[in-house]
Symmetry: C2
């Protein structure tokens, strides 16, 4: 079968031929429909993140997938059922407490592999297998956009942890700032606007108009903030201090600037994965700010089945115009290279392996 | 009546004579028993924190008080009832949403004053008045130690917010590190050991043996970590990464080092109030650490009535030897200066105005 793989660091993905996988006991065989491309894929391709499976020299890419069950193989799934796979699996066939309680997203290093990212092949292939418990059914009509469930689930988790961090008191957020106008930033902005109904939302980028992401930001009713004109620490003076900051840039100064832009009792969600980088901060002021104004920062990675299920509901609530504008390209596997192109007119892309 | 006041920045507290206060409607008159002294008092005395009430040039000190109701003045309190006052009050007689819902600790700047600290006289006087709702009854037998309820309440809140921040997943902390071996650090260490029954606890200080605080740390069953031998970032290698860090030093590098010393899924509680101070951090690594290991930081200030009530229960559970060792001096108001002395043999002191 066809698959899209990389040798990490080789610089670009290639089409390879691999044997169709055989499901083990408890696993179903899934025929792949579409697989999304995101920043993590580009990091993996560049060799900055992730690693190939043990004893292999290639990694099949793809962690944002949707497919249909081809062979339930004795599981409770049904032939033709549309499913989205979660990403983390236990390493070396060894279960552990995090997986046992359905929270693989909280497993520490060494206690998981990530399909398409670290230590396990991904879903960019005509077929894949997965244990039943890691296949989340979705309605048939969401199948074309099913590859958005995984990225939405990342924000479902981040927001869940942020809300939990503010659950010891009465907290009614009415403003939110998304740092980053990539696809994850825009999806999260849409969640804040359309699903969580946050009154006032802002999205930070560094692009000139006309730009398709700025158009989406404004169509959502959010305010676009150009970081070249209004750096993050100046946002409270130029607009307002906000109750929630969602950091989706991986630019580490943003993690610290988040403290300054938060309103009292606010929470910052950190999602990016930067490289080491030393710089100066006014650590005294940041520390004091966090304390005197009861601020919180939560780091969040990956997501579990519950977040995927919540993401399915969220996806169903996003307006059609938004997903139409967000998904700028779905490419047949024969022209998969286009799905990895970057550029100012690219927002979100996917590779299509098959149709229902 | 006698009161202990400061002109901020004057360098030392003085005994003053003030009129005995008259309770307003809804307020009771309380006869003061004991008032504790803490680091915040020393900050106020030094002029680094807090301010005098509007149109006054002196501030009566004291925010850790216990007293007995002298005149219920029509409230539901009873004559002779032992009570501990909370600290925040609405400013200028103006209520606001934070006070209305019983969460004055979450009020932002300008929406509160703090008795004995900022904008309102404290409790270091023979009598004080307070609205009934800010007087927390405690059992008579706890009266001699009632001045510990306020500092314990600070940790009740910090720990409540930290636990909330980890409530979106299954979290069973079994190790904790307290940064700072002052009285608040030791009280919190005792809470971790004796009340929350955390398996392994550590307390960081920078003192030589023999030292009374190191003795308390070790008698509690905790491990004393000398920061001169083992700086915070080396604690994971020397001992272990911990599930909870409680920062009670106000040393801002600790706020950042907390991220490194936390185990995956851990939470750091920031309590100190440092001055501005710029320094270099590896912001990229700290950001990445928070994300990839789901770490959280929560700042926490002040506490509300519910935290005081929890603190009363906690105080009742602390062993007698601990509070005996913690409280190194209770001084009659005639020798109040001694309560403000600092030195390696001083842990926690209080001024005694009267006995039951």
């Amino acid at each position: 079968m066809k698959a899209i793989a990389v040798e990490p660091g080789a610089g670009e993905p290639v089409l390879v031929d691999r044997p169709r996988p055989e499901p083990d006991v408890g696993e179903a065989l899934v025929r792949t429909l579409r697989v999304g491309v995101d920043g993590t894929d580009h990091e993996v391709i560049a060799g900055n993140h992730g690693d190939v499976p043990a004893n292999e020299d290639q990694l099949v890419l793809g962690h944002e997938a949707v497919g249909v069950v081809e062979d339930p193989n004795g599981t409770a799934l049904e032939v033709g059922q549309v499913v989205v796979p979660t990403v983390r699996r236990w390493p070396d066939g060894t279960d552990n407490e995090y997986f046992e309680r359905g929270e693989p997203d909280m497993a520490p290093d060494g206690e998981y592999v990530e399909r398409g990212i670290a230590g396990a092949h991904g879903f960019m292939a005509e077929y894949f297998t997965s244990p039943e418990e890691y296949l989340v059914p979705i309605p048939d009509d969401l199948a074309p956009l099913g590859f958005l469930v995984e990225p939405i689930s990342i924000s479902e988790k981040g927001i869940e942890h942020a809300v939990a961090a503010r659950s010891a008191f009465e907290w009614n957020p009415d403003s939110a700032l998304v740092l980053g106008n990539g696809s994850l930033g825009l999806l999260t902005l849409a969640m804040f606007e359309e699903v969580l109904e946050i009154d006032r939302t802002y999205c930070l980028g560094r692009r000139d108009r006309p730009d398709p992401t700025i158009d989406v930001v404004e169509k959502l009713g959010a305010t676009y903030v150009d970081s070249r004109e209004t750096p993050v620490p100046e946002i409270p003076a130029a607009y307002e201090a906000v109750d929630i900051v969602y950091e989706a840039t991986g630019y580490p100064r943003h993690a610290f600037e988040t403290v300054d832009v938060l309103a009292p009792n606010g929470v910052g969600i950190l999602l990016g994965v930067p490289e080491p980088w030393e710089f100066d901060v006014d650590g005294g002021r940041l520390h004091r700010e966090m304390v005197l104004h009861n601020k919180a920062l939560v780091g969040s990675v990956n997501s579990h089945r519950g977040h995927f299920e919540a993401a399915v509901d969220t996806l169903a609530q996003l307006p059609d115009w938004f997903t139409d504008d967000l998904v700028t390209g779905v490419y047949d596997v024969s022209e998969f290279e286009s799905a990895f192109d970057t550029g100012d007119d690219v927002v979100k892309t996917a590779v299509e392996f098959d149709r229902i």
